[in-house]
């Protein structure tokens, strides 16, 4: 869908289109609670951030919520209590495990929000490399990741990268709807980042659950041509935005050829 839209956009560009920044008067909605929680198999420190949405024209989009009670319980009944490390940032030291189910509970000003996530099995790529595509006379380099998708089960993936030691940035999420059980070659690229030979790229491939995929897929499928953009589905129900993801991730590095 978004691909077709890109085609249209490039076609319209072909037809003398122009772009400029304009002023729009937007309403200020009541601040909405945002809870983002993650449990990784690689990290020994797990983090939950709690904040509130801000008005569109506020320059600092993170409005932290302090004083919340955050706990995670696994299937065996182990309880992990989080401590507020910085305003709105709550951490706890433990390591996530594949196939484990985690129940998150967040209490903010007397209201309790809960979410559940089960960490999928880890799928790792067996090769990483540089690929080149020529489009309208311009060479575009991208990273190609290859992996065998496990057959017979729905799999969801999220990709992030860091270029030349820069901050980790999310690229996109994918699923195996059309390539279940196939040997998949995943193209990783970012419109804002042009790769050149010699760039060192570190890629993180996360195996995420369905709810996390739905969240990020809703975010990435909103484009300027979406008829009715909406908030991505929340793991916490109507009271708060955000998601809670237990994911299994692996990291690979390469130097752009």
């Amino acid at each position: 869908m978004s691909r077709t839209y890109l085609i249209i956009l490039s076609l319209s560009a072909f037809f003398f289109s122009c772009e400029d920044v304009i002023d729009i008067d937007l309403n200020d909605a009541d601040p909405q609670l945002v809870i983002v929680g993650a449990i990784s198999n690689r990290s020994y420190e797990q983090q939950v951030t709690i904040s509130r949405s801000v008005a569109f024209d506020v320059a600092q989009p993170f409005d932290p919520v302090s004083g919340a009670e955050v706990t995670v319980v696994d299937r065996t009944g182990r309880v992990f209590r989080y401590a507020e490390q910085a305003p709105g940032v709550y951490v706890c030291n433990f390591r996530g495990r594949e196939s484990e189910r985690y129940d998150l509970s967040v209490q903010v000003e007397g209201t309790v929000f809960t979410a559940t996530s089960t960490m999928p099995r880890l799928v790792t790529a067996d090769s990483i490399g540089t690929a080149v595509r020529t489009l309208f006379g311009e060479e575009q380099k991208f990273i190609s990741l290859r992996y065998a998708d496990p057959p017979g089960v729905p799999n969801h993936y999220r990709y992030l990268w860091s270029v030349n030691g820069g901050p980790l940035a999310m690229l996109h999420v994918s699923q195996d709807k059309f390539n279940d059980g196939k040997y998949v070659s995943e193209d990783l690229a970012d419109f804002d980042t042009e790769l050149v030979a010699g760039d060192s790229v570190t890629v993180r491939m996360q195996c995420i659950d369905r709810a996390t995929y739905d969240f990020w897929n809703a975010v990435q499928s909103i484009n300027p041509g979406t008829a009715a953009p909406a908030n991505p589905p929340s793991s916490y129900g109507d009271g708060a935005l955000g998601y809670f993801a237990a994911y299994a991730e692996s990291e690979m590095s390469t130097v752009v050829q």
Binding site: M1, C18, D20, L26, P224
Partner: protein
């Protein structure tokens, strides 16, 4: 009074029931019938009027095949025959028996101004039909349009109650309805996708078109299947007298039409083609990948007709159009419609006319993805076979019956992915869906008393969705609760609907009238799209065990007046429309190649209401029209906007069009169009928040914001060469968006490049000022 009315009613019913018997006994009435044609080309003239000279309220109109039938008392009569753009003709007849008179009208083009005859002009006052607008194809010729490609679908957007689908778009919305709620017929064949190049050009090549009728309400019972409107387009039959060719060379495309008699005065053919040539410029590129790329569309219209004898005529017409784009070594994408119509007209006697139609219509698209890793094809198709039988019985000069049936078999092949074994994509075939729609209708145009005219009718539709296949049922969350396997020929779902139609006019005085109409329309075919633009890859679905047929009830009231000796026509129509089982989508719905696509749908209701003003100057060196629509269109869905009413995207409060054409000199014609409308209702964020270092927009209300107002001025000029018998040519110059207004096509939001913490809004404007030039010829 009521007794008198009752007697008239009774006697009319009596006459109808045993119509011909009455005329045999009375020996006082006879019928004059025949065809009305263009004297030069032999083209039948749809809607031409024939009226009694002494009493203009007695008359008939030629039907879609130019056939008329008028029953009058025995004796001598003076009849006036007229049609828009033609010189009226008087006809004296001595009626002693049923008489066949074929009438040839001379075009008024030789005169300096467009001739609009009196009786044709006052049709809008007297005709009981409401919500109908006819577009004169000659008028389209002078209206300035984008890139000089004259376009029926863009011209109708200048009419009241019809909204443009967006900048430069040939899509349109009628009275608050959706884009897929318009029934678009080309020679009775349903056209599934009426646009080229993602909507910027319509599939209708104006050279091939004879007549365009748009029904916004009060649709006669012979039409069914869509909620909002019927756009009935008739192709030219071809010149029956002599061979000719005409064409043009424009910025975007070139056109050529060839026509001529098969056997003089008995049969003719016309072939008309159009092709774009943007790809010619691609060929100039040094880059091999670019020069091997494809980007074009074409249309081919062909039609032939042959009169077997006085009573039987056959018509065969076809349309083939395709868009092709491709980038070598990466992807190919092509889509298009093909339609074929075979018709048999039979004049049984002076008062019975029948038409039998067999139609095939098909729309499909193919996407080829080819690269080192991938090699697969996605294909999708929708097609129908349609058999229609229509009868028209001209019982008296005050009563015409029309009835018939149609059998529509429709098949959808939603998505078929065909992949190589080595490719990292699985082959996939979604199950085909088959539906059968049986419809019967009866409609009566009747003038029970002086000043009162009406058309009323009923349409009965029986829709069946057939197996084979697996059909799922879903709960409110979209999860499967039941799956059943049906065999071939098993009925999965069945819907029976009765659609009453009613439209009447009451003449207040000779030149003004009131009209009232009500119609119920039912729709069994739905186009699914969650993007703002309609794309060829949009999925079609039929009514099913999950999707109930869309139903619209519309009531309308209007006032019509002609003044200034019929030079001006004024109308104001107001309507209220209620729509059931409207379709919207879950958040981030997956509408592509999804077996469970019906799980992604939400169902709700809609309402649309408004007032439409229309003032037209029909004659004189300066002619044109002003139209203003004040309207509202809203939807309500559980699960969207907390179940409250919200504005439909195409809800535009004010919509103004002004079209002016001025004959400066015999050679120069100038034209101008101005449009203004309220911006679309859109969803913008009302806040923002951070997730994993990414700023996301916080939305609170569906369609709670407005795009900026849209307005634009276009100018055009046509210069005609000296008319010689052998060769004529003309130049058409146009300027689109004269004052270069940056109308927002898209408004989106992003993090500022200078400071990522600051968010900004930006707009994309599509077309600035664009000049165009077209050269046309005819010989």
């Amino acid at each position: 009074m009521s007794h008198k009315l009752f007697c008239r009613y009774f006697s009319t019913v009596y006459m109808v029931l045993i119509g011909s018997v009455v005329s045999v006994f009375s020996q006082t009435k006879h019928t004059v019938s025949g065809h009305i044609r263009d004297a030069q080309s032999g083209e039948t003239l749809i809607g031409a009027g024939i009226r009694l000279g002494t009493d203009v309220s007695v008359g008939a109109r030629a039907n879609n095949y130019g056939f008329y039938s008028l029953t009058l008392p025995e004796g001598s009569h003076l009849l006036t025959v007229s049609h828009v753009g033609y010189q009226p003709q008087e006809l004296a007849i001595e009626l002693t028996a049923d008489t066949v008179v074929d009438i040839d009208l001379r075009s008024g083009e030789l005169l300096q101004e467009v001739v609009i005859s009196q009786s044709a002009a006052d049709d809008q006052v007297r005709s009981p039909q409401m919500g109908l607008t006819r577009v004169d194809v000659n008028e389209i010729k002078h209206v300035p349009v984008l890139m000089g490609e004259k376009d029926v679908l863009k011209t109708i957007q200048l009419l009241p109650g019809v909204l443009s689908g967006g900048e430069g778009s040939s899509n349109f919305f009628v009275r608050g309805g959706a884009g897929d709620q318009n029934l678009i017929l080309l020679d009775e064949a349903m056209v599934y996708n009426a646009s080229h190049l993602f909507g910027f050009f319509s599939t209708f090549n104006s050279d091939a078109i004879k007549d365009v009728k748009l029904y916004k309400g009060g649709m006669p019972a012979q039409y069914g299947g869509r909620l909002s409107s019927v756009l009935d387009i008739t192709m030219l039959d071809g010149n029956k007298k002599s061979f000719g060719a005409e064409g043009g060379v424009g910025l975007i495309a070139s056109r050529l039409k060839v026509e001529g008699p098969i056997v003089k005065d008995r049969g003719s053919f016309v072939v008309s083609g159009r092709r774009t040539y943007a790809d010619v410029f691609l060929k100039l590129s040094n880059d091999e990948a670019v020069s091997n790329s494809r980007l074009y569309f074409y249309d081919l219209n062909a039609k032939a007709n042959y009169r077997l004898n006085e009573r039987n005529t056959l018509y065969l017409s076809g349309y083939f159009g395709r868009d092709v784009m491709g980038y070598s070594g990466l992807f190919g994408f092509d889509w298009g419609n093909a339609t074929g119509t075979l018709r048999w007209n039979r004049v049984w006697n002076s008062r019975w006319f029948s038409n039998t139609t067999a139609v095939y219509s098909n729309f499909n698209y193919n996407v080829n993805i080819e690269s080192d890793e991938f090699n697969f094809v996605i294909a999708s198709r929708i097609q129908n076979y349609n058999l229609k039988q229509d009868f028209q019985f001209f019982a008296t000069n005050k009563s015409t019956w029309r009835f018939g049936f149609n059998v529509l078999q429709q098949g959808i092949s939603p998505a078929n992915i065909d992949a190589d074994e080595e490719t990292a994509v699985n082959s996939l075939q979604l199950e085909n869906r088959n539906g059968l729609e049986l419809a019967g209708y009866l409609s009566h145009e009747w003038k029970p008393v002086q000043r009162l005219n009406m058309i009323y009718g009923l349409r009965l539709t029986n829709f069946m969705l057939f197996g084979p296949g697996t059909f799922h049922a879903y709960d409110a969350d979209g999860d499967v609760v039941d799956s059943r396997v049906y065999g071939s020929g098993d009925v999965v779902q069945h819907y029976l609907n009765l659609e009453p139609r009613f439209s009447l006019s009451y003449e207040l005085r000779a030149n003004n009238s009131l009209k009232l109409s009500y119609n119920r329309n039912v729709q069994h075919l739905h186009q699914l799209t969650n993007a703002t633009a309609s794309l060829p890859t949009d999925t079609w679905v039929m009514s099913s065990n999950n999707i109930r047929p869309q139903v619209a009830d519309q009531a309308a009231l209007g006032y019509y007046q002609n003044f200034g000796g019929d030079r001006y026509a004024f109308s104001v129509e107001s309507y209220y429309k209620h729509m059931q089982h409207q379709i919207d989508y879950r958040n981030a719905a997956d509408l592509q190649a999804n077996e469970h696509i019906e799980a992604e749908l939400l169902y709700g209701v809609g309402r649309a209401y408004g007032v439409e003003w229309y003032l037209k100057k029909q004659t004189g060196r300066l002619n044109g029209w002003l139209s203003y629509t004040l309207a509202k269109s809203e939807r309500r869905f559980d699960g969207i906007n907390d179940g409250a009413w919200f504005a439909a995207r195409q809800d535009r409060t004010h919509d103004v069009s002004a079209v002016g054409m001025y004959q400066l000199s015999p050679r120069w014609n100038l034209s101008a169009t101005f449009v203004y409308s309220t911006g679309n209702a859109v969803t913008f964020p009302s806040g923002k928040y951070t997730v994993d270092g990414r700023t996301l927009w916080y939305y609170t209300e569906r369609n709670g914001y407005r795009m900026p107002d849209y307005h634009r001025l276009d100018l055009g000029a046509t210069w005609e060469s000296k008319t010689s018998k052998r060769f004529q040519s003309s130049w058409t110059f146009g300027v689109y968006n004269v004052y270069n207004r940056k109308n927002a096509y898209i408004i989106d939001f992003r993090e500022s490049e200078a400071n990522p913490n600051v968010t900004e809004a930006y707009r994309i404007a599509l077309f600035g000022i664009i000049p165009s030039i077209t050269w046309n010829f005819k010989f």
